[in-house]
């Protein structure tokens, strides 16, 4: 049974992450339709104002197959997975970090809604995984495929994942 306090905290973190990446338009949209929610969890409160973009991270999709845990992160504007840092703090605690570059730093910005800069995301995976992931980056979406450990197997400390240098 999930701790209600942790559930609320996780929902708040997810909303912050969504708002930081997609900007005001997303929040306007959420105000009409409500926020996305984790399966089996209660709905959060829609329409919260976005915080100043700082260390909150990208939206994620996660699913589990018999042998893998697959994590997809929305990170538009990178050139490949080599620009992402992924760490495991235990077998189910994944930390993603990335820097979304400013594409036209020499231009005069008339309107600015896209998120740029450092972002990170700490998420609890639905199953224990090994500290190695196959990474792929396509159309602004990073995909990490983790091999699952056997049920009950655990790990200790923080492991930096091997991410192939060539990708995309």
């Amino acid at each position: 049974m999930s701790d209600p306090g942790k559930v609320v905290q996780r929902i708040a973190e997810q909303l912050e992450a969504l708002g930081d990446v997609f900007g005001d338009e997303l929040w306007r949209e959420l105000g009409r339709t409500g926020p996305p929610r984790q399966k089996g969890q209660p709905r959060g409160r829609p329409g919260s104002p976005p915080r100043a973009a700082a260390a909150a991270g990208p939206p994620l999709d996660i699913y589990v197959t018999p042998h893998e845990v697959v994590v997809e992160a929305i990170l538009p504007g990178l050139t490949g997975p080599q620009q992402v840092s992924a760490s495991l703090a235990g077998p189910t605690e994944l930390l993603l970090e990335a820097f979304l570059p400013d594409r036209l730093s020499d231009g005069l910005y008339i309107q600015r809604e896209r998120f740029t800069g450092y972002c990170s995301r700490l998420v609890t995976l639905p199953a224990s995984v090994l500290p190695v992931a196959a990474a792929r980056y396509r159309d602004g979406v990073l995909q990490l495929r983790f091999q699952r450990t056997s049920p009950g197997a655990g790990g200790e400390g923080v492991a930096v994942l091997h991410v192939p240098q060539s990708g995309g």
Binding site: K39, G107, D139
Partner: protein
């Protein structure tokens, strides 16, 4: 009538957009992660509007309700962006790479040369 710049149709999401002036170019950047070029339509309406329409296709092998976590949005999107300056519809370059759309447009406006007299030394002193 389509509202400009901010309000999308109620049932569609709207991607975030940057507008950047660089020399005689006006460049629109839009975050469109997960959008394939074949699912995107970019239109220049008149000389002051850019319309983005398309769809984020669902890409996972599992049904959406079976995802352990689902924060990414899927489905149609639309955005109409009102440009602050007229552009030449014939000088537009469109590229979609790494989830970022770039619409590079040539501004149709003539630069005005500004003339001014340099300040004389001591002219900034306040009168007593």
């Amino acid at each position: 009538m389509v509202k400009v710049n901010q309000e999308p149709p109620a049932e569609r999401a709207a991607p975030p957009v940057d507008l950047v002036r660089r020399g005689d170019r006006l460049i629109l950047l839009a975050s469109l992660p997960g959008v394939r070029p074949s699912d995107l339509r970019v239109s220049i309406v008149g000389d002051r509007q850019v319309v983005l329409e398309g769809e984020v296709a669902y890409r996972h092998p599992l049904p959406r309700e079976n995802l352990a976590l689902n924060e990414c949005t899927y489905g149609p999107f639309a955005r109409t962006v009102h440009l602050p300056l007229p552009v030449d519809a014939g000088g537009v370059a469109v590229a979609l790479q790494d989830g970022v759309l770039t619409v590079d447009m040539r501004v149709r406006a003539e630069a005005v040369h500004l003339h001014w007299q340099p300040k004389e030394a001591g002219s900034g002193e306040r009168p007593r």
